[in-house]
Symmetry: C2
Subunit: 189 residues, 2 copies
């Protein structure tokens, strides 16, 4: 199944997420909690590795706070339903996407890949939240509304990451690499 | 130099921190920023390793948000003074203290050590902030006030970590191990 995304990206929708009906709410919420945790941890790691880049530090500091407040809200949703947080599972999608980050070589090239891979993960989250928003509208209107809010937030994070890449790297190179990573990302679905 | 701490702990005051006059504000603020970052990262790591422990998850989720808001405020203080964030330095004190965490063996024993080492790091931060509060009163009253607020917050985190240890481990064992770690910690100064 292919579909246009709200971010106008050429992303396939991850089949694991299309058939939401087969998933239970516990699995969805636990996965989601760890997505937020990993997004916060990635932001912290980028700040620690590039502290000299002021705009990156300032924007990612806010992004980390936002991701962490989402983690907190997801844990609250679990608690409300007496569901346990559960253990993190290995996210093959993220592992495979991160394998495309070119290490060694010029420092800015690695930064470019780190920022764009983060951007794609945010875009993918945005896609997933759109599906959850639609899927949960009848089943759990309150949670559906939560995913609607988060969808907007993740779209903002995608834009922030791409803008940061354009701040620190050649914009033409950013566009070319983004297209390349989009193609690679499409094959992961 | 020995002194009683506001937490009634038998901690020596780290000599690197006593002679504050020899330190410049940039060094103090950069060190401080990374202390907050490491405290947030440690909290996240504990949540990921012990997600089944509800009280731990709930309390550390709040603690991480608080540490991260402190990181944000320290970065703002740097920006106000046109000072760069700078790179993290290896914190020998923390490295040596963490070497006392007993790995392998019963899972609860490792958790006990992780919680108490975190408690001691918070207590030490509280001590440092007390010195900064006093030292900066004339030199920078606004920053002095900031450290006064943070002193209270770190004292609260010390208490949270010890309480969590008592929630999940035998309280008598917690007290004994805390005394042991306090003696080991004293030798690091």
């Amino acid at each position: 199944m292919k579909e246009k995304t709200i971010l106008k990206l050429k992303l396939n929708t991850d089949p694991r997420w299309v058939d939401l009906a087969s998933k239970n709410l516990e699995e969805i919420l636990v996965d989601h909690a760890y997505c937020e945790q990993k997004a916060a941890s990635t932001g912290i790691s980028l700040i620690v590795h590039y502290p000299e880049k002021e705009r990156l530090v300032d924007e990612l500091t806010l992004l980390v706070a936002e991701e962490w407040s989402h983690f907190e809200r997801v844990v609250q949703e679990l608690r409300k339903r007496s569901l346990p947080l559960g253990r993190p599972r290995r996210d093959e999608y993220v592992v495979q996407l991160m394998a495309h980050i070119r290490k060694g070589g010029p420092r800015e090239r690695q930064l470019l890949d780190q920022l764009l891979v983060s951007a794609l993960i945010e875009a993918r989250s945005c896609e997933r939240f759109k599906l959850l928003w639609l899927h949960l509208q009848d089943r759990d209107p309150e949670l559906s509304q939560f995913y609607y809010e988060l969808m907007a937030s993740e779209a903002g994070h995608f834009v922030s990451y791409v803008d940061l890449a354009k701040e620190y790297c050649d914009p033409a190179e950013v566009d070319a690499r983004l297209q390349e990573l989009l193609r690679l990302e499409g094959r992961l679905s």
